[in-house]
């Protein structure tokens, strides 16, 4: 299998689905002539033309709403928010419209839209441009929220998301675009709403996703050198949330650490912990700890920002605390 970057995996997924289905089109800021701020749609504008690769004005409310309306009327838009921070402006369009329309009108309409949005900190962009707000979008019924952490999952899940009749928020991480991983040449998809064990281990369960997954896998490698075998569960989807593999693993290890890049307070990890202690109570050997972003706005200063973000050391420390 070829080892390609996350960016390439996303590009391939988009191209394959555009080739496969005329009703699939891309819209967003700088997705066309510029080629995508993160170069994911590089060359698409020439290849597919301005009808199917549509540059938009700086209008996030319209990106969210127009894509939703087009989906209601039979198209399959892949709408890109340049970064998930700007999707804050489309919160109403996404959670009160795209996510509610099917239900609110008694199932009369389908909204097969995909919202792509890269997020994450670590690039010195300051407090407003460095969010990992995955949890706030995942709180609302009607929306599917996924955040793959490997090129393989990214390609397979993006293709699945585009084919899905549900509105899907597809969260990417700006620091993972260069990450390489094995991706088969042949056609495949990865189901949404299904977690996956990315590393087997018997001593402790580390549950994470997206960029946190990579941090967790790094930590697991280092722990292995000390003879500690961590099982790493990748949630992949945040809504619906498949707790199966995490619970199964926890029943084997009796100890767990939840890792996420976003703020810890009211974060993804809180739900995971609440579910674990409720559904595997008898297996609780130690408190389940969370490793997450400090509860501070992210500063510009590289040194300060790095202090606030997760890293393998923080994960290792938490693991040793629960062991």
């Amino acid at each position: 299998m070829a080892r390609i970057t996350m960016r390439q995996a996303l590009t391939d997924a988009l191209r394959e689905e555009m080739d496969r289905d005329e009703s699939v089109f891309i819209m967003g800021e700088e997705v066309g002539v510029w080629g995508g701020t993160y170069a994911v749609t590089r060359g698409f504008h020439d290849e597919f033309g301005p009808k199917r690769v549509r540059d938009t004005p700086i209008s996030e409310m319209a990106i969210g709403g127009v894509a939703t309306g087009a989906a209601m009327n039979g198209l399959r838009p892949v709408a890109e928010f340049m970064t998930i921070n700007f999707a804050f402006l489309a919160l109403d369009a996404i959670v009160n419209h795209a996510a509610k329309i099917h239900y609110m009108f008694g199932g009369q309409m389908k909204v097969p839209v995909v919202f792509r949005a890269p997020g994450g900190g670590g690039r010195q962009l300051g407090a407003t441009h460095s969010h990992t707000p995955d949890v706030i979008f995942s709180h609302f019924p009607g929306l599917v929220v996924v955040a793959p952490g490997t090129p393989y999952d990214a390609k397979g899940m993006l293709k699945e998301a585009i084919r899905s009749d549900n509105p899907v928020l597809f969260i990417e991480h700006a620091t993972l675009y260069q990450l390489r991983g094995e991706v088969p040449e042949e056609e495949y998809t990865v189901p949404l709403g299904v977690s996956d064990v990315k590393r087997e281990g018997s001593d402790v369960t580390i549950i994470s996703y997206s960029q946190g997954l990579q941090v967790s896998l790094d930590a697991a490698e280092q722990l292995a050198q000390e003879g500690i075998e961590a099982e790493v569960v990748d949630l992949r989807s945040l809504r619906p949330l498949d707790m199966g593999p995490a619970i199964e693993s926890f029943k084997k290890t009796f100890k767990a650490v939840v890792v996420e890049e976003g703020h810890g307070m009211y974060g993804i990890g809180a739900e995971v912990v609440a579910r674990l202690q409720a559904e595997a109570f008898d297996y609780l050997d130690a408190p389940i700890l969370r490793v997450a972003q400090d509860n501070v706005p992210l500063p510009y200063s590289r040194e300060l920002e790095q202090m606030a973000l997760i890293n393998p050391e923080k994960v290792i420390a938490a693991v040793k605390e629960v062991l």
């Binding site: 309306g69 609110m104 009108f105 008694g106 899905s164 549900n166």
Partner: protein
């Protein structure tokens, strides 16, 4: 305008008026819950504009949506059943008064978040444009919604992309208790159109013939590839913003003045003066409408409540 057509418009407007009056009663009786926004006074706008659409044209509006539902031809019983939260309602009782939709009739619904449906309208239009049909989308909105960000972004992108949308602002003089002057930097809605490369036209929203003609023209321009068009319909709501409105913001005199140009009265006078109908015919229609509305209420009252399982249905269009 041929006589049958006018008689049908008369019937539709009387139907909406009567339907709304009965809704108000049912609300008082506690049979309708949530918010109820009546369309009384504005009937000519929806009926006149929608009469000008072609088969494939789409219609979308805000929460003041009963009139549009009836104008697109939705079954009054199914609409009333929705107001009563019954499973036979157009939206299965899940949407209520503010969320009526009837997709089979290309009626994409009423939306309760002010301005939220404007980009949806552009999106619906994009669907037609993308497929290369000559269908358009009629997007109704209130004067108050022209001050929200959604309005700006939706109208701008629709023009940049030359989408087949007809923006129809129902200027009924108020957004809740706020007059247009106290909420908008410009006193008329058409003054906002040029910023989006549209000329915009004002229409007497109380005169259904004007509404019909203006809409017909605008839709023709859109089909000729002139891009989005903009209409400001001058109208008035006789009742409160919604049930329970204390009405502290306007005088009885003002309301009476507007009742003077009642849209139904205007059409009625026109038809009688032009001998397009006689009193009896109109009375007959009034009687039929009365009947229709009563049957709708009966149907709604007798319809079953949703089954408990319905709570968990339609969250997703496809299992995940």
């Amino acid at each position: 305008m041929d006589k049958e057509r006018l008689l049908d418009w008369y019937r539709q407007m009387v139907l909406i008026r009567r339907f709304e009056q009965r809704s108000a009663e049912l609300y008082q009786q506690g049979k309708i819950g949530g918010f109820l926004h009546l369309y009384i006074g504005q009937e000519a706008v929806a009926v006149g504009a929608i009469a000008a659409r072609q088969e494939g044209d789409h219609v979308i509006t805000a929460y003041r949506d009963h009139g549009h539902a009836l104008a697109v031809g939705s079954d009054p019983g199914a609409v009333m059943a929705e107001l009563l939260g019954k499973t036979t309602g157009v939206s299965k009782g899940k949407g209520g008064s503010m969320h009526l939709a009837d997709v089979d009739r290309h009626y994409w619904g009423g939306y309760a978040v002010v301005g939220g449906h404007l980009p949806l309208a552009a999106g619906l239009a994009l669907g037609e444009h993308y497929r290369g049909t000559d269908n358009a989308c009629l997007c109704f909105m209130g004067d108050g919604s022209t001050n929200i960000g959604y309005f700006h972004e939706a109208l701008n992108i629709a023009s940049v992309w030359e989408l087949p949308v007809l923006w129809i602002v129902e200027n009924n003089q108020y957004g809740m208790g706020t007059t247009v002057e106290r909420a908008s930097a410009v006193a008329t809605m058409v003054e906002k159109a040029p910023a989006y490369g549209m000329e915009g036209k004002q229409v007497d929203g109380m005169n259904i013939l004007d509404m019909y003609e203006a809409t017909k023209e605008a839709l023709a321009a859109i089909r000729d590839g002139a891009g989005p068009q903009f209409l400001e319909a001058i109208t008035y709501r006789y009742e409160g913003h919604s049930m329970g409105d204390p009405l502290r913001y306007r005088t009885r005199e003002e309301v009476e003045k507007w009742r003077g140009d009642d849209p139904i009265g205007i059409l009625e006078r026109h038809m009688l003066e032009e001998d397009l109908a006689d009193r009896e015919t109109l009375d007959e229609i009034d009687g039929e409408v009365e009947q229709t509305v009563e049957e709708a209420v009966e149907f709604a009252e007798e319809s079953p409540l949703p089954e408990p399982e319905a709570l968990y249905e339609n969250i997703y269009a496809e299992a995940v």
